[in-house]
Amino acid sequence: MASAEDDIQSRYSAGTTRYKSKHLISTESTRIQTSTENECQPFFIHIPSLDPSSKADLVRLGMLKEKNGEISPIIQLLREKHVKYANRPYTSPLPGSYISLDSSKPWIIYWTLHSLDLLDALPEEEDLCKIVSSLEACFATIQCNEKEGGGFGGSNGQIPHCATTYAAVNALSIIAGCSHSKVSSMAIELLESKRELLYNWYLSLREERIEDGALKCGYRMHHNGEVDVRATYCVFSVCRLLNILNADLIKGAMEHVVDCQTYEGGFGGEPFTTEAHGGYTFCAMAALMIIVGYRKDLNALSDCGVDVDALRDWIVYRQMGYEGGFQGRANKLVDGCYSFWVGGAVAMLGVDMHQSSTFRNHDSGIYSEIPDDIGMQRLYDDATSSLIDCEEGGLLCDQKLLQRYVLLCAQDVNGGLRDKPSKPRDFYHTCYNLSGLSASQHVLSSKPKNLGKSVGDGKLENDEATMYENEPENILHPTHPVYNIRVHRALQVISHFQKLEQL
């Protein structure tokens, strides 16, 4: 029986070795590339033609499902195992080897909580309450001086840090939107009570300079800490969610970020020097998307001074012809975490292209009145009119091949996800593989239902996702490509704080 699934499987498994990387001279780069492809190859099997005992093994591992005595050849997302793994920080103490994460506790919380949220499996209210109070214990003011503001640090007793603050605010936003009213209002109250402190602290992290007669401004990660484009993103994401973004914070930031675009087209961490990189490209684009949303005079990334064609070209070449996942830089190896860093960039690129073409076609400006959440709501609604053929998703990458990489190569059969088959699972890779999977299923996909409206926690928000194989149980909740929490959570938090006065 030749089903549609068989078609996809044969297209993606048999004969794809012709898309393996090619080289004429062998160097360190080509050697490790070749061994990575070889490491992935055993996972790209043609399931329908497997012998029964191999199929039974895969059923036992949970990778295949048995229905009415018949084995379905569709690879499963190991939901329950991932849920169990992501619950580890809430069930037992972490071993001493986690000591380096002692300064990243809000990160552990965000990575695991967002993973659970995408899987529709947030912890019980009691655990969520513990999370809120643990995050509260991470909050610190500068030199105990309230005027200078404060933020969330890595754990109790540490100075505030932009990255851990971003993680903490995202985690609290997730909890704020959950269905348990008690812990939800705890989270909201905590966020509300810190708005002014955060704002003042962010002002103190500004690193202004005048260049070619223009004001440019980067942000420090913490006092007397490094300046790079991660900080700008972390600051703006938090400010946008909590409605504390204003002209004083935005001044010079766009000019600084735009200078980080390199000759390759992607963005590096610092102006005019560093190499184009998936992580920094994500941060730069997301920061600019937030600025575009805030400033009424800008409609798209190109208005900021970004060379969007070069950016687009750099992004599309990050997808590996054979593995299907993304690399973070040219001539580097595939890594599951870039499923989101580059996958999110592809998603924002789609949003941006869509937005700018809409503006071009509607010079009456009717769209400028749309609430400034990067037009996300409209994007989902309008997805069918995307510039690109929607049959396989509206993003400028092969969404199915990306999903195949996540499902086949990045899943650990014991739960959790990883960089590549030879690497161990961890919370970070679990979060970003799942986030990438979600973005590639939903962004610019056709018409998810009720995105901005309240949707019960138990119900999946989408029934028309773009998928590698048609398996409704593999569908995750849609993540917002700018903030990387569920679209629904982001819109809820934004609308809550929009009702409050701007500082």
């Binding site: 809430y90 300064s103 643990s134 754990s155 109790n156 540490q158 007397n224 000759y263 005019f272 040219a330």
Partner: protein
């Protein structure tokens, strides 16, 4: 000496994770105790030699603790005689660079350690002409050693770029080109080295290259492309140099010359390998881009034909991208 003796006047403050702790880590006992003393003297704002020692001890356990580094710098600053920002005593700079190298060995991708080096050297870099210039040379050698272990370490490269651009010495910029060439001889796919080449030829600015330098760079890139035309890095470099010059003067003669060069690479590739040049997708892609710059009807038709082949046969993973490019080429 024991911690309890060195700090016999201090009451340690234990970690307080609130009444309902989660994400607890089973700390080694020595670390837990040292960290408790650190919390206590940090709260007292004690800037002393023993505080410096304690931070070094704690950092061995967790070099990612940015608060400990931050406090260490405050101590360095308070104990140094310099008046400018980040001007620490020379002996302290040397000692801390050693500490960083020691901690960095097993943590080559730790943000904090690299930033500490930057902070230590900021004053020296900014006063290169009349200061301890040898430190800068030593620093570049240290980074070269790290890159010898991992030629694409992003932190090491960022640090190197910072040292060179902050010092802003013509000789250092010049010598860097040889360093890059050595790395590219070793691995022509080292994209970080290609990026460094752009950084050095442009001296960390966005001013376009002079025509003469651009020609030299194109010739250099062509020799690397003839080694291996499948390599993406030189193609991106080439295309960026071309576009930069084109934006500057819209010089058609230049575009025609570039097209000839690309043809040359194509022919070279075909004779050397006896393979279909269309399998070399970066070659085809750059060819399409330059044909588009030329812009006459004939070139556009050719570009369209190639884009179609990439879409359907040679680069199907980017099929949607090629479809979009084709529609743009059609105008």
């Amino acid at each position: 000496m024991l911690l309890t003796e060195i700090f016999n006047d201090i009451t340690p403050i234990p970690q307080d994770d609130g009444p309902n702790p989660i994400c607890q880590i089973d700390y080694p006992q020595e670390f837990d105790m040292a960290q408790s003393y650190l919390r206590a003297i940090l709260q007292k704002k004690e800037y002393s030699e023993r505080a410096l020692q304690l931070t070094a001890y704690c950092l061995q356990f967790n070099p990612a603790n940015y608060t400990t580094w931050w406090y260490r710098r405050q101590c360095l600053s308070a104990l140094s005689e310099g008046h400018s920002e980040n001007e620490y005593d020379h002996t302290r700079v040397v000692k801390d660079l050693m500490l960083c190298s020691k901690l960095g060995g097993g943590n080559p991708k730790n943000y904090q350690i690299w930033f500490h080096r930057r902070n230590l050297l900021e004053y020296t870099c900014k006063n290169y002409e009349n200061g301890n210039g040898y430190l800068i040379q030593e620093e570049l050698e240290y980074i070269a050693e790290v890159l010898n272990q991992d030629a694409k370490n992003y932190h090491a490269w960022s640090h190197r770029q910072w040292v060179i651009s902050t010092t802003n010495s013509e000789t250092i910029y010049k010598n860097e080109l040889q360093f890059i060439d050595k790395l590219l001889q070793k691995d022509v796919r080292n994209n970080s080295a290609w990026n460094q080449r752009w950084f050095v030829t442009h001296c960390a600015s966005k001013s376009p290259l002079a025509m003469e330098t651009a020609q030299q760079e194109l010739e250099y890139t062509l020799t690397k492309l003839k080694l291996d035309a499948y390599n993406e890095s030189p193609w991106r470099y080439l295309l960026a140099i071309i576009k930069e010059q084109y934006r500057l003067n819209k010089n058609m003669e230049f575009v025609n010359q570039v097209l000839e060069w690309i043809q040359e690479v194509k022919v070279h590739f075909e004779t050397e390998t006896k393979r279909d040049w269309m399998t070399c997708i970066h070659l085809v892609a750059v060819y399409i881009d330059v044909l588009e710059l030329k812009g006459d009807a004939e070139s556009m038709d050719l570009a369209l034909e190639y884009a179609g082949k990439l879409e359907t046969v040679y680069d199907p993973i980017r099929k949607k991208y090629w479809k979009l490019r084709s529609s743009q080429l059609r105008g």
